[in-house]
Amino acid sequence: MKTAVSRFALRHAPLLLFAAIIVTLGVLAPKFFTIANALNIAVQSAPVGLVAVGMTFVLITAGVDLAVGAVMFVGAAVAAKMIAAGQPIPLALSAMLGCGLTLGAVNAFFITRVRLAPFIVTLSLLFIGRGFALWLTQTRAMNLPEFFLQLGAVRWLGVPVPLLVLALVVALAHLVLTRTPFGRQLYAVGNHPENARRAGLPVRRLIFSVYLISGLCAALGGILALTQLGAVSPKSGENYEFKAIAAVVLGGTSLFGGRGAVWPGTLLGVLIIQMVESGLVMLNADPYLYPLVTAAVIFLAVLLDTARQPLLSK
C-alpha cells in the first residue's frame, strides 16, 4: 500500500507539484481561486507555452535551443519596422513566422550539416539575434498599432484568442508526438541516434525538423507576446529560453533525450511557472524576490525529477 502510494507520487510528480502550488497560493491569497484569475494566468502563460512546446520537440531529440528568445525579438523587431514603414499587418505577421523558420533553419543547418553542438550553435544565435534586433530597433522601444492589444483581448466562444492558439498548438503537438510515425521516430533518435541511423531512420532530417518547429513556435510565441505588450522593447523575448527549458523539464521531459510529453507535462510546467509569478504579485511580494522564488521552485522540481528517475526505472 505504502509503495503503491509512493509509486503514484513519483509517477505523477509534476501533477502533484501543480496541485500543491494551487492549494498553497489559494490559501495565501483568496483572490487566486477565481475564474478570472485562472483565465488570466492561462492567457499570460500562452507565449512561454508556445515556445516550450517547440522546445519539447528539441529536448526529446537530446538537443537544446537557446535561441528562442532571440527569435522572438528579431521577429518582433522586423514586424515593427515593417509596420512603421507602412506595410500591412498580416504581411508583418507572416514575416515574423518567416523569421522563426529561417533562424530555425540556420540552427538546424549548423547542427546537422556542420555537426556543431546544439548548445554552441543556439547560444551563438541567441547573441547574434539579439544584437541584430537591437541594431534594427536602435535599442529603442517601438509601439505597435492598437490592433495588437485588441487581438489579445478578442474572445471566441468566451475564450481569449491567445488561449485558443495555445490549446490548438498543444493538441496538435501532442498528436504529432504520440500518434505519428514522425513523432515516434523523434523519441527513437533521442534514445540512441546511432541505432536510429542503423535502423534506417532519416536522423538528420528529423533533427533538422525539430529546430524548424522550435523556430516556428518561438515566432508564434513572439506574436502572442506582442498582443500582450503592444510594443517591442530591448527586453522583448528576454529569458524566454530559460523559462521555456525550465517549463519543459518541470513537465518531466528529460534533458538527455528520448523521454517527455507536451500534454500534460510541458503545459503543466508552463502553468506552474506562471502561477508562481502571478501568485507572488498577488501576495505583494518584493519584486526583487520573484526570480529567487521562481528559480527555487524550478530547482526543487528538477531535483525531485532527478531523484525519482532511478526509483521509477525499477
Binding site: 498528436l175 500518434r179 505519428t180 510515425p181 515516434r184 521516430q185 523519441y187 527513437a188 533521442g190 534514445n191 540512441h192 541505432n195 536510429a196 541511423r197 542503423r198 535502423a199 534506417g200 531512420l201 528520448g258 523521454r259 526505472s313
Partner: protein
C-alpha cells in the same frame, strides 16, 4: 542446391592493411552457417560489408542469386538481411510494437499511426518468436533475452531471408539460450538461412549445418559441421596446435589469508557468505546466471552495501570503506562489464592504465607534479608485461582495441596498483581463444607473485583449468566447495542448479 548468400572474392583493406583477402564461401538455402575466427580475423568487417556499413574493395555478393551491393544499412534490410547484434539495437524508451514498426508504421488516413493494426501485427510476430508480452510493453521492462526475441521479431517483420546472429548468447541465461536455439530451429524449418557467429565453439558445432573458419582475413577452413571438432576449430583459428589450453603454475597458495568474508549478507542479494582467500591462491566462484556472483563481487569491492557480516583485507575489517580506500589497501576489481564499468572507452590507453596508480608517480610535495618520464617508462614496461598489441599507440582510444586487448589494458591498470587481492568477474568474456591464453597466463602470474585471485566465471572449464578451489553459488548462497582434486564438471553443475526447497 541454390545458395541463400554467396561471397565471391571479397577484399577489403584499411589504410593499406588488408583485412579481408579474397573471402569466398556460400550459405546454403535454409541452412545455418557457423562463422568462427579470432577477434581481428575479419568477421566483423565481412558482416559490415554484408550489412551495408562498408563497401568491399573487390569481390561481389549474391543474395538468392542476385547481386547484392548495399551502400547503406537500409539497403541490406530491404534486401532481406537482418542482424541480431551482441549489443542490441532496440530503443528502450519505446514499446515493443513501436520498435518493430518504427520505419514502416501502418497508418490511418495517411498520417496517424494505426495503433490497432500495429498491435495486431506485433502480437502475431511475438507469437511466432514465443514471447508472451503485450505489444505496448516498453522495451525497458524486458530482460536481455526477451529483447533479443523482439529483435528477431523485427527481422521477421521485415521478411528477412538471411539472419545473422552475432554472439547472441553473451548476455543470456541458460534457459534463454535454450529458448533461442529452439527458435533458431523453427526458423531453419521455415527455410530461413542463418549465419551464427560465436566464440562458444560447442554451440557452433551443435547448432550449425556448416562451418567457416576465418583467419587473418582469409578462409582457413570450411565444411559440414560433422567434419569438425573443437580442437580442430581451435587449431584452424589460431593457425597452430594449441597443445595446452591453460598455462601451468609456478607458485602455490601459502597459508596467509589475504581476503576474508565472514557471514556477509544483504537481503535479497547474498546470504551468509563466508570464505577465505590465501596469498597465491586462485579461488573460483561458479554458479548460474543470477546466482549472486557479480553482486558478491560488487559488495566485496564496496560498490554495493551489505547489512550483516564482515569483510577483512589482510586481517583488518573494511567496515564501510569506499572503493577508493579499498584500492589503497590493496584490493582490485575487474568488472564483468569492461565497456561501461572497467574502462573509459574514449580515453587513451595511457590514461586508462594510469587511473588507479597515478599517485605512485607523483613527485615531491607540495605540488606533487607527475614525473612524466618515469611514468612513460612504467607504461612501456607494463605493456610489455601484459603483451598488449605492439601496433596500439599509447594515445590511441581504448574503444578502437579488440576485446582481448581492452581486457589487457584493464589488467595492466590493476597490475600497476600491485594489488594484494584481485577480484575478476568474467575476465575472458568476448575474448578470443588466443587472447584467452594470454589472460590466463597473466592471472596465474599474479597468483604466482603472491596475490590472491578471486575468479568469477561461467565457463566451468576455465575454472577447473585455473583454480585451486572452487565455490559454487546458487540463489545468493555458497552451496558447495570443491578442492582441486575433487573437480568434476558434473558435480559442479549439479551444485549450481537451484534446489526447489530453500533451506
Amino acid at each position: 542446391m541454390t545458395n541463400a548468400l554467396q561471397f565471391d572474392g571479397i577484399e577489403k583493406s584499411f589504410g593499406g592493411v588488408p583485412v579481408l583477402r579474397g573471402v569466398s564461401f556460400a550459405v546454403g538455402a535454409g541452412r545455418t552457417l557457423g562463422l568462427v575466427g579470432e577477434n581481428g580475423a575479419g568477421k566483423s568487417t565481412l558482416m559490415n560489408i554484408l550489412g551495408g556499413n562498408l563497401t568491399p574493395d573487390a569481390g561481389l555478393m549474391l543474395l538468392d542469386g542476385k547481386p547484392h551491393a548495399p551502400s547503406h544499412p537500409t539497403d541490406a534490410a530491404r534486401a532481406g538481411v537482418a542482424f541480431i547484434h551482441q549489443e542490441l539495437n532496440l530503443f528502450t524508451n519505446l514499446t515493443i510494437a513501436e520498435n518493430l514498426f518504427l520505419t514502416a508504421f501502418p497508418r490511418t488516413a495517411g498520417v496517424l499511426v494505426d495503433r490497432r493494426t500495429t498491435h495486431e501485427r506485433t502480437a502475431a510476430l511475438l507469437a511466432q518468436v514465443g514471447l508472451s508480452a503485450a505489444p505496448d510493453t516498453p522495451v525497458a521492462q524486458l530482460s536481455p533475452g526477451e529483447r533479443q526475441l523482439v529483435e528477431i521479431a523485427r527481422a521477421l517483420s521485415m521478411d528477412a531471408r538471411l539472419i545473422i546472429f552475432d554472439e547472441p548468447t553473451t548476455s543470456l541465461s541458460t534457459r534463454e539460450t535454450d529458448a533461442l536455439f529452439a527458435l533458431m530451429d523453427q526458423l531453419r524449418a521455415r527455410g530461413v538461412a542463418m549465419i551464427y557467429i560465436s566464440h562458444i565453439l560447442e554451440h557452433v558445432l551443435r547448432r550449425c549445418d556448416d562451418i567457416v573458419v576465418l583467419r587473418d582475413g582469409a578462409v582457413a577452413g570450411s565444411g559440414a559441421a560433422e567434419e569438425f571438432t573443437t580442437a580442430r576449430l581451435v587449431s584452424l583459428m589460431v593457425g597452430r596446435e594449441l597443445t595446452q589450453l591453460y598455462p601451468s603454475r609456478n607458485g602455490a597458495p601459502t597459508g596467509e589469508t589475504v581476503l576474508e568474508a565472514r557471514r556477509v549478507s544483504q537481503p535479497g542479494v547474498v546470504r551468509d557468505i563466508s570464505f577465505t582467500l590465501r596469498r597465491g591462491e586462485v579461488l573460483g566462484i561458479s554458479g548460474l546466471m543470477g546466482a549472486g556472483r557479480s553482486e558478491l563481487a560488487r559488495i566485496l569491492f564496496g560498490l554495493d552495501p551489505h547489512t550483516d557480516g564482515a569483510i577483512l583485507l589482510n586481517g583488518e575489517p573494511l567496515h564501510r570503506a569506499a572503493p577508493r580506500r579499498r584500492i589503497a589497501r590493496g584490493l582490485a576489481f575487474l568488472t564483468e562489464d569492461r565497456r561501461h564499468e572497467g574502462l573509459c572507452m574514449d580515453a587513451s590507453i595511457a590514461d586508462n592504465v594510469a587511473l588507479v596508480s597515478l599517485r605512485q608517480h607523483a613527485g615531491r610535495v607540495p605540488l606533487r607534479l607527475l614525473n612524466l618520464r618515469r611514468w612513460r617508462e612504467t607504461i612501456a614496461s607494463i605493456r610489455e608485461a601484459v603483451r598488449l598489441s605492439p601496433q596500439a599507440r599509447d594515445t590511441q582510444a581504448v574503444s578502437t582495441l579488440s576485446g582481448g586487448n581492452q581486457q589487457k589494458v584493464v589488467l595492466a591498470k590493476w597490475l600497476l596498483a600491485r594489488p594484494a587481492a584481485l577480484i575478476l568477474d568474467e575476465p575472458t568474456r568476448g575474448v578470443d581463444v588466443g587472447a584467452k591464453y594470454e589472460l590466463y597466463r597473466l592471472i596465474l602470474g599474479l597468483a604466482d607473485d603472491g596475490a590472491g585471485v578471486l575468479l568469477i566465471s561461467s565457463e566451468i572449464e576455465e575454472l577447473t583449468g585455473l583454480c585451486d578451489r572452487i565455490l559454487v553459488m546458487s540463489r545468493g548462497a555458497v552451496r558447495a566447495e570443491f578442492s582441486r582434486a575433487e573437480f568434476d564438471r558434473e558435480k559442479l553443475l549439479e551444485a549450481a542448479l537451484p534446489r526447489e526447497v530453500a533451506s
